[in-house]
Structures are given as C-alpha cells and as structure tokens.
C-alpha cells in the first residue's frame, strides 16, 4: 500500500469524523461530489444490494444534503438537544488507480451519549473518493457491525 496515499486518506477520514463530531453537518455534506451517495445496509443483511433490499439509509446527493441540513434544526427532535459523539476511525486502507477513484475503507466506532444513555455503533465504511482539487466522497457505505438496532433504537445521526 502506498504510504503517502494512506496518510492522505487517513487525514481526510479523520477530518470527516471531526466535522460530524463537531456538528458541522452541512460541511460534511459538502465533502460529497455532485453525484455523491451515502448508504447504510440493513443490520440483518449487511452485504445487501440497495436495488433489491430495504436499506436503513439510501441517500442520493440531494437527500444526504437535506439529511445534514435537517440535523442543524431544533425540529430534528431525535437529535435536539444534539447527541455528543466521538468517532474513532481505524484500520484504514486505500488504493488508487491512475486517473481513477481512490477505493478506501476503515473501521469505525461511534459513541453517542444523549439523555444519560450511551449507544455504541461499531462498523466498517467503504468509500469511493475522487480528486476534485481536494478529495471528495463519491460513495460512502457504512455497514454496522450490529445484528439489530437494540438498544440503539435509531440511526438519527450520520455514521
């Protein structure tokens, strides 16, 4: 693996995690390309295809932008007052084909504290990144390493 590329991708993923932990949701959405997509497969079928299975999240660029915008509002009740979150990003991999996208992956653990309760969301994310000046996200798929959303109950924040 190319060490320079790996360091660059790591820094990018750390930046993404930091934006989300700091509630900079619109800035997070701005990391995506114009045709960017964000998806989260169902917990009981982690390898599912969004064309044929019901996903937890299946967002095109418009909807991920609106999802982000919504989280900045008081009326996004499940996240107001906002959860305090801490995202750990690790086990990063990255591979680039000349002129093509960067295929990257990482493990994550997202700790969410709210209303006196702690929820832990472990998982793996796959990314397809593009260089448009800066690195941008063309595709992100966050697969939870949970078999049900219990006790979490909801994925009201961004993984």
């Amino acid at each position: 693996m190319n060490g320079e590329l790996l360091a660059e991708v790591e820094q990018f993923l750390f930046h993404e995690a930091r934006l989300l932990d700091c509630l900079q949701f619109n800035e997070w959405a701005a990391l995506f390309t114009e045709d960017g997509r964000y998806e989260v497969p169902p917990t009981n079928l982690p390898a599912a295809d969004p064309q044929t299975a019901l996903f937890l999240i299946n967002d095109d660029r418009f909807r991920l932008g609106e999802r982000a915008k919504r989280l900045t509002k008081r009326s996004a009740h499940a996240e107001f007052p906002a959860s305090r979150t801490c995202r750990l990003v690790t086990n990063v991999t990255a591979q680039e084909t000349p002129g093509g996208p960067i295929e990257a992956g990482c493990n994550f653990v997202l700790y969410r504290a709210r209303f006196g309760r702690m929820d832990i969301f472990p998982g793996h994310s796959d990314y397809r990144l593009r260089r448009e000046g800066a690195i941008r996200i063309e595709f992100k798929r966050a697969t939870l390493a949970l078999d049900t959303l219990r006790p979490h109950g909801k994925v009201s924040l961004i993984l």
Partner: protein, 448 residues
C-alpha cells in the same frame, strides 16, 4: 359507560374489582376520554396483558412470501415465545415451538433459511420440518416406544391461519377464527393484497429496533395524524425543498377519515391530499417525467384489473391501520408491516418490513425502496422523531402516575361523519377493546 376514575393507585388496588378499575375514564356526555398513565408503567398490568390479551387473540407472525418453498423457515418471537414459522416438506405452513423437547434448547438458531431438519445442537435430537422427532442419537438408551404418543415431537402452536398472505397465530383454543377476528381490517389488507397482479412479497432487509416506551404508545402513534405538524415539521420542510410541495400538515388536518374496524382495529385514511408519492400509483415531481409515464401505466393496469372505484382507493389512497393488539400495516409512501414485541412495561422491540408487488419493474422497486426510507424506519427522516416523542412520554410518566391522565378526547362529540384524521376516535376504540379484554367489562368498543 361506567368506567370511573379513581384518585390513586392505593384506592384502585383496594377496590374489589382489582387493579384495572379506574384506568380509563370514558365520559361520553362531556366528551372526555382519559387513560390513566399507570397503564404504561405498571409491570403488574404488563403481566396481565400477556395473559388476557396476548395469550387470547390472534397475533401476527409473518408473511407467506417469506417462506415460499418447502423447507423455508424464519425464526420469530411472538408474545415473548421463540417460534419457528416454517413451510414443511408437504407445503403446509406450520408454527413450531423453538425449544427441544429433551432439554429445551432452541433448535433453530438461524434467522431464516431452508432446511430438511432442525437439529438441536445440545444432544443432537433431530426434528423434521413438520416437527416430528426423527432421530435421537444412541436411541437404544431410551425405551423403544418413548415417542409413541408423539410427546417428544416439537410442540406446535395450536392455531395458525393466513389471510391473503398475512399469517397469524393464536395461543388459545377458545378464540374464534382469524377472519372473524380481523373483521373490518380484512377490507384494508385486501386493498394491499390486490395491489400486485402476481401478489405481494416482503422485501429483503428487516428493520429490527426498539423503543424505550410502552408498546401501546406506538400503536397510538401509528394512527395519530394530529402529531404530524409538530413532530414531523422537519420532514415537511424536506418535502417543500424537494418538490416545492405546499406545507401540508395543516394543524386542522381537515381531510380524510378514521374508522373503527371492529375488535379494536382502526384505520386512518384519505384519498390524495398528502405530498408524498406512491409507487403504485401517485406520481410526484421529485420522481421525474420518465417515472410519470410508468406510474400512470401502473394505475391504468390496476383500473383495468379491479375497476375504477377500487383502483382509486388502492392507487390514490393512504391508509394507516392498527390491527389489535400489536400490528400496524401502513400503506403510505411505502407499505410497512410493523410488528411490536412488548418486552416490559417501559420497553418494546419493533420488527418491520416493506411489502411490495411481486414482479414490479426494477425502476419501480428502486423508487419504492428509496421512498420508503425517506420517512419510515429507524434512520428515516420522521420515524426517529416519533420514537423520540414516545420516549419523552415514557420519561414523563416517571412522575406520580396514579392521578395523572392522558387525554384522548379529540372529536368525541362530533357526529361520526365529521370525524377527521386528526381526531382520536381510532385510539379510543383501541383503548376500549384493551379495557374490555383486560377486565372482561361489558363495554361498547365502537363508541364515539
């Protein structure tokens, strides 16, 4: 109806009619209907619900499309019991108790699959898909006729019946048949079943989540249009951003109607008037012109098949339906089968699935799946806000609940034909049925 309030838990408990007296105040003259908050927090009441409701009535377990071939099975929990819903090798749908007759271990650990046998992994006893015990390792140590009476076969749930693909079980031998039980809900399940020319199927990918609230709050929420203005304000704003739709959550929600469907089931329904699209078949601008042609063609085919009147309901109607006690089937921006699994007075699990027409085009299926999760599900733009509200209610009930009441009176003094979606008739029929089963009181469920 003489269900009178009592001022405190102590008084209620000392009353000779027992812990249920005074839980519901149904004052039809004044038009005031109240539910004592003890029904959401009292573990004694929770235990009685298991015995007097869940052990007596028909309960949803699964959809026939989940087990289309002989040997197909899904592992389920109904009323706290681990069960297996299986199509046996002869094609008969059976519901088996998921517990080895030898020592009791679960014999089925996988969530779903296809099999010839269920083998207990503890001592190796083997059952066929009809539940018959077909092998005991080193059988010679058992008496030769040890299963002559079939007592060592997997237990089956006494009753299992299907209505248009929806499979229910009943743990009581004394309850009438499923169709009688479903009553008016059959009409509404049929609208859904008639949507697909080739039938309907559960889509792969389940929503398995939980809410730290009493299960009955979710059933109220399922047919509550009144909350939409505030709870779903941000979803509404999303629709405005996407389609330029007019904000539709008019606080008066002066459209549609609610109906009591018998046995505590109820529906809230309307034709058009809401801004989301329906894959079968109501187009919205956000789907683009190409989709418009396909959706109009889908509607035309449904009109040809079932006639214009029925097609209008199927294609243009939106329906939220509660099937008492713990099932909701909503046909809105998607079709959801939502099954509640009460865990304690203050917590319930939810399993829900999307239902879709068999054989629909790839484009339509994608539209359906994307549309569904826009609002619905634990990561949708609306359902998490619903669960937040239920959690807030449950937290609020930690106050002294004995003399604290929920008000469920909206529309109580309106003539029946003027009751709208934002009224609460549909919840009162749920509560009256709940009280009737819990107390054996002789009350009219279909009241105002």
């Amino acid at each position: 109806v003489g269900i009178t309030p009592v001022p405190s838990r102590a008084d209620a408990m000392s009353n000779r009619t027992g812990p249920l007296d005074g839980l519901i105040s149904d004052d039809r003259e004044r038009g005031v209907f109240r539910v004592n908050r003890r029904v959401f927090v009292d573990e004694e009441i929770f235990a009685l619900e298991r015995e007097r409701i869940f052990d007596k009535v028909w309960l949803y377990i699964g959809h026939s499309s989940e087990i289309p071939r002989p040997g197909d099975f899904v592992r389920r929990q109904v009323a706290g019991r681990p069960l297996i819903l299986v199509r046996d090798r002869q094609g008969t749908v059976r519901v088996l108790v998921n517990s080895c007759t030898h020592r009791g271990a679960l014999v089925c650990k996988e969530a779903a699959g296809n099999t010839k046998f269920f083998q207990c992994t503890y001592h190796g006893w083997v059952y066929d898909t009809a539940g018959a015990l077909v092998d005991i390792p080193s059988r010679e140590a058992m008496s030769p006729d040890c299963n002559a009476d079939g007592a060592l076969n997997l237990r089956a749930v006494p009753r299992c019946e299907e209505f248009r693909g929806f499979i229910f079980v009943c743990f009581s031998k004394d309850t009438g048949g499923l169709e009688d039980y479903l009553a008016g809900a059959k009409e509404y399940l049929s609208y859904i079943a008639d949507m697909g020319e080739l039938g309907m199927e559960v889509v792969k990918g389940a929503e398995e989540y939980c809410i730290p609230s009493n299960w009955k709050l979710m059933q109220e929420n399922s047919v509550d249009a009144y909350h939409a203005t505030t709870t779903h304000q941000s979803y509404n704003e999303y629709l405005v951003a996407r389609d330029g739709a007019k904000p539709f959550f008019d606080p008066n929600l002066n459209f549609g109607r609610v109906r009591h469907l018998g046995n505590g089931h109820a529906v809230s329904e309307s034709i058009d008037g809401v801004p989301w699209g329906r894959p079968y078949a109501r187009w919205i601008p956000g789907w683009g012109e190409e989709a418009r042609l396909e959706i109009e063609a889908i509607e035309r085919r449904i009109i040809e098949r079932v006639g214009p009147e029925r097609a209008r309901v199927i294609c243009r109607g939106d329906r939220n339906m509660v099937i008492f006690p713990n099932l909701a089937v909503h046909d809105i921006m998607g079709i959801t089968i939502r099954n509640l699994l009460p865990q304690s007075a203050g917590a319930h699990d939810i399993n829900s699935w999307a239902l879709a027409p068999i054989g629909e085009s790839e484009a339509s299926r994608q539209r359906r799946l994307r549309n569904y999760v826009e609002f619905l599900g634990p990561a949708g733009m609306a359902t998490p806000d619903d669960t937040e509200m239920l959690e807030l209610c449950q937290r609020g009930y930690a106050n002294n609940v004995a003399d604290q009441w929920n008000d469920v009176s909206r529309g109580m003094r309106k003539p029946r034909d003027q009751i709208k979606k934002s009224d609460e008739l549909q919840m009162r029929s749920f509560w009256r049925r709940w009280y009737q089963l819990m107390s054996s009181a002789d009350i009219e469920v279909d009241g105002p």
